[in-house]
Point group: D3
Chain length 320, copies 6
């Protein structure tokens, strides 16, 4: 196994029988005994494009302990199809050195350019006419630390926009639709735009994306609706003369944007902008989720996904 | 009471103590006996702007029978406030002659110009690139009878867009938002546009708007989702070579656009365009409903509506 | 393996250790690698009486490709019990020739005689006194193509009456109970009978039964309630002078027969006959489902089924 | 007011302006002050055919105290239509003597002959082949006290079969349908018949029908499902050798016959007979409720009832 | 009407026919026209013990405008029973001078001594062993402004503990039960005690109690769960070295204490203390609500309340 | 394998690689064929502390038939970790003789002393002041057979207090909390205490705990709410002069203590004591369930449980 640099093959591009070498992340790992009494290591191996089951036969416990879950490895393997699904027969692997790899390269990433999204976001903030609301938007997004987190965060662990940059991409989609809607409907455009930008701001604390996307403890205990609304109070308190009613309205948009108690909103929408935000959020999220599930239908002969618990139904890929 | 023509005062413009004369529709009427033993007629009197309770004291049964519910009357009355609500003390009235009145003037009406909305609708149809979908749109809206009904129909009896022209106004809002969304999302623009135009087409048979907006028998027995989807089958059958799958997709959009079983959709959304249509429909309908309820808060000191069963909450009028 | 004709042994009649030869359908098939590195074919093998897992050890990929899922094979095998369930050790197999087999013999089938059920159905139609309703019934069931489909169709994919002839058997049960009920209750007998006959007519398009019972694309996108009610409109339109209200009533019976929004009815029952049809349908379907689940308890020592999601409980086999 | 006997006019047969005299029950009564300061008595007056509002103007408190709610009066009155509903102007009244009246004549009553229903019930019991189940049926219905209560009891306070004899009429309908179903379906006919006969037996303790039908304290605290199942245990305990499993099965039928937790069944149906009983009960009850509501549409021009909370919809009277 | 001081008779102590004079609050007021054409004022008059309908006949508009809703009046009246309910015939009234009245005397008030409750609360805080949790408790309750608000606040507008001092009384009940439970169960006593003390702290901003108890705008837009959890973050931030996890745990207790999404908790209980708090809160609140409704049964002959929407049932007063 | 007595090692105390010998119960057992064609026995082996998968390789069918599920065996084995979970490699085993083992030792057991709990229960009964309620308590718990069953019964199959002695432990917890609550709230202390003692009495018939805890047939068909309430009627009937209303109140407490229809209560709480009992029951049960799930988190690095269907969420182990 030579260690000279070179791009790691994308897992999703491998075909049955391909032998390949590169850097990958170990998502899960266990040391097991086969029916014939021999030991093997059973892993989930991932890069940004896919994650596959992998086995190293005739393994010993030392090698297993060297590369626990969460570790990056240099791996030589063979792709096989098992029960219709790709699986990796591992030939050999070793832990990677920090200098060899870029952590973010092991997570999926938005197809849109990160700088372009940041610029688009700042332009939208610039278009907010109400000085209070613009100041509040700036208090968040002109804070470099927040902007860095926001631009990197996924929008969910499993469902829609579950990739690096997913949160800002989703946010921009909603803000743009909010602009279009404000042009036709009787609505406070500035409040709706600000609500669109901040509705999921709590997710930068609810989720963490290192080798995998997962919830933080605070995220599970409090939820991103509460976290986001609390941050609004803190930022607004730093803006001299910020009217309390405006704080409450922005917090209300965040707290009510799931639209129903059973989806985790502690208050129901009570202003037109709150109804608009709830449905714009769902519009973008549900369509992205549906597209993602349809894209994941493996078999080109099939035009239905499996049953999706999130969408409560199967999805159909219309003929092309 | 002179009968020379002249515009009837709008009911909504009357103030406490105003005496007025004009043509109005009798929505409800009953002949009653007061506690002092005298008879009176209790009516609901309406024009396009409002509907009020009205009483004619010391009435006789002949006069009551002359003007049943649904009748147009020429009425001389006095507006009074009773329990905080406007009420009409009727001084005298007589049935109107057909030549004196225009039926549509007794129902509320869209603020947008009818011809402009029709033109906008036709332009959208012209922008549908898929020839099958465009042909299906034309099969509906180039049919003068359907277009006449569609342009006049309200979108609901009580809730959003419950006025003459409400259906086309609501439909255009959705179609325009669909265009904006299709520009950003991976979606079949033509299918979504067509679904937007046809999603409530069944309402022209479900509702009837004569002196008041109400459901038809067929509307209650079948619902506008079924009616609309059935009409799609009939129109598509007349277009040579129309692909069956496209018929099913358009029907699916109509049948699933309420989004949940408990809102009367017999199938849940199964394609991305169906999720989009459901949330675009809700976006426009819920915001319009909220605005309408807020606008109806009578007391300028109050900033909350009563509890709304449709929206399951009270609504807040944000300070100005 | 001799190919001379002879009845294939029923899978359900085999016992542990039986060797057998016959024609069977391959429901599922995959090519797999065992832990010892050898390849094998893992299949589901079925006839009308049962379906079992089956393995062919030391298989090659060519043989696997010769008989994909959906194929009929001539198979020599050995029945074994594995983890308490029957499983087939395949000794050899080859694809069957079309001339050797009858497709319908691989699906379960109603215990009742097909001709007798058809005659009973026609007799019931003859007993409908209302000439409009009788004409509508004939428009469906005197159409040979529809009758052929109807008599062959199952009533469901997995649940009640999921076998060839299940739809007509279920329909007759309901119609007979409707007759009995009409004799005691204030009900429009003819309307209820017609509704009983047509309530599931949409299933002949919603389901298809070739080697297995499954939903069609249109079935999933539209559902059998919509499809059935649409067909009623089409047939009624061909009967001169058919009263529109009667069309609506029959359509209403079909659309409302699931009885609740959450079971997929877009309108709730609004006439006495609709309540009757809903409960008669459930009466027959739920009891058949319960009986089927109880009959499938394998272990004679046990008197409880597993938890059934369809019935939301376990079922009890009362002592005999 | 002469007191010589003679049949009291049925309230339901009175027309606007009719003066009438007879014995009626006072359901509710209150002493009130009109806006003009005078006192009057406001009552609900009923017989078996209807119940109407009634006013006695210029009343004094002594007369009010003489005839509280629940009292039978001899009354001279005038029927008037007020707000479209019949109302009685009371001219005079006095308490009735016990000797003048028959209590049961003031409650509505089944249209079927009481003796015929009793005979039919006994014949059904005779047809139960299983000696245990027949013995249990006899333990209830050969007990003269129980039979008397059962034959007199209504089946509900407000909804279906809310009249004297309603319980036995409803029970017979179900039992007859159970017989018809048992002839076609795989079901324990004797168990289902017995369950049909006993499913509502607890109602003879849950409801009491004196001048009006109402719940007893025990009825509200325990419910007729529990009461009925408890009585089965008591009766079965008196039958030598009655198998415990059979007790449990009959109790299970009673406890599960509402079919869903939210309708008050503490256990869901777990045997085929329990599913059958639940749907047979609903079949009879829902259709009777619908018919009753439709029959109560006052206005012959209308073909829709008001919204019914029990049936969750409006009901339609199909054209004749 | 002499104005010399003297205690106002309690409304709840008045009997039919009593004439009385005192200071009362006008909760609602409207100027109305009777059927005989005369004007009258219709009010709701209240003190801490009860609130009754009241009418002043032959009133003029000036007097009506002098005493709008929310005003305190000196009133001479006569108590009458109307339709079984007490009602006041107003003889005369005038606005009260500020010097004549104590605002709090017009709202119901806890039966427990205010100082004793404050002392009990402080003692409980003293018993919290964990120094962080004790410091957080002190940050709230050693703040004189918060303690003043907390000790005065009701616990609800309409339901349990809807009186001055209700919040602290309810809080103490829960804390005492929490102590008892902590003695038997494996639970973090200090965390549960602190959660008990703070669970409803947001109500001091959600509700306001001046002449009546009502929600604030912020209360409706945000809810007391969010408000309370936000205040915890603010107070904890002022305590040097307060561990973030402890902030999250206390916030989690507050946010989850309604126990279910549909009751407005945005997160479900995830630690044992959260389950304990939820059920202790319900224990105290539901029993108090039930007792209050039962105590309000007017008629001593009746032992059932009306249907309560909050408790979803009627309540029974067990015989004494 | 020597059979001389000696304590069997606790399964939960074994570590990877430990060889051990002792008496254990076989919960499940099946005879299987491995991919290499050899036969093995796959079992679940349990004692009071844990239950593990176990395999005996190269087994023959005779040995398998000697020790079916439910049998106690003397077993020599080796503990291994497989996929992160402990698993037993069986070296040899034989059926145990009755004289060698104590059945109860194979089920988990309360940590509290059985006699102490019995004494505590009797003392609580002694503190019930109402002679009727005390007599009813004695009728149950002074019956040696009932007391024996009650003291041994678990409180559930899988969830809270699912161990020998769990029912009495849970009952005592509730009764003690009821005492504490009665000291602060307006409640019938004696009724609430009695309800606490009897609320789950039906579980001694609903559950059976031999080698494993499972439901009885009657338990599934009737439920412990019904069974308990029925037993109350039987016991009360034996107490001379026991007031029927008291029977109904105690039965009501039992029937309503699940608090909601969907949790299987056929009646909702209608007296304050019923609300109290419902929440006290939940308080103890939910906290015990949460503690049990948290204690079962295997990995010391993790602080979240898996999703629990019973509690509808994940649970968090707060840092120590």
């Amino acid at each position: 196994m030579t260690d000279k640099p070179g791009p790691s093959p994308k897992l999703s591009s491998l075909r049955d029988g391909d032998e390949f070498e590169g850097f990958y992340v170990v998502r899960e790992s266990s040391f097991q005994t086969a029916v014939n009494g021999k030991n093997y290591i059973r892993m989930t191996i991932a890069d940004a494009s896919a994650n596959f089951m992998a086995n190293l036969w005739d393994a010993n416990r030392e090698l297993f302990q060297l590369c626990p879950a969460g570790c990056i490895v240099k791996l030589l393997g063979l792709l096989e199809i098992y029960k219709g699904k790709p699986q990796i027969r591992v030939i050999r692997f070793r832990p990677a050195h920090d200098s060899e790899v870029d952590l973010d390269s092991f997570l999926p990433r938005s197809a849109r350019d990160a700088d372009a999204m940041r610029d688009e976001l700042l332009a939208i903030i610039g278009s907010i006419a109400d000085p209070d609301y613009q100041a509040l938007a700036k208090a968040f997004f002109h804070d470099a630390e927040i902007m860095r987190e926001f631009a990197r965060s996924p929008a969910a662990r499993d469902l829609h926009h579950a990739f690096i940059g997913g949160l800002i991409e989703h946010t921009l989609n909603i803000a743009r639709m909010a602009e279009a809607f404000a042009a036709r409907a009787k609505i406070d455009r500035d409040l709706l735009l600000l609500g669109s930008l901040l509705h999921d701001i709590g997710k930068i604390e609810e989720l963490e994306a290192k080798y995998a996307i997962d919830y933080t403890d605070a995220g599970k205990l409090l939820g991103h609706l509460f976290i986001g609304a609390q941050r609004v109070a803190e930022k607004a308190a730093l803006i001299p003369g910020f009217p309390p009613e405006k704080t409450h309205l922005v917090q209300h948009l965040i707290l009510s944007h799931h639209g129903r108690y059973e989806y985790g909103s502690p208050v129901l929408p009570k202003i037109p902008e709150a109804f608009a935000l709830h449905h714009l959020d769902n519009l973008d999220a549900k369509v992205e989720t549906a597209n993602k599930l349809i894209a994941a239908i493996g078999d080109p002969e099939k035009n239905w996904t499996d049953f999706s618990r999130a969408l409560e139904t199967q999805l159909y890929r219309a003929g092309e």
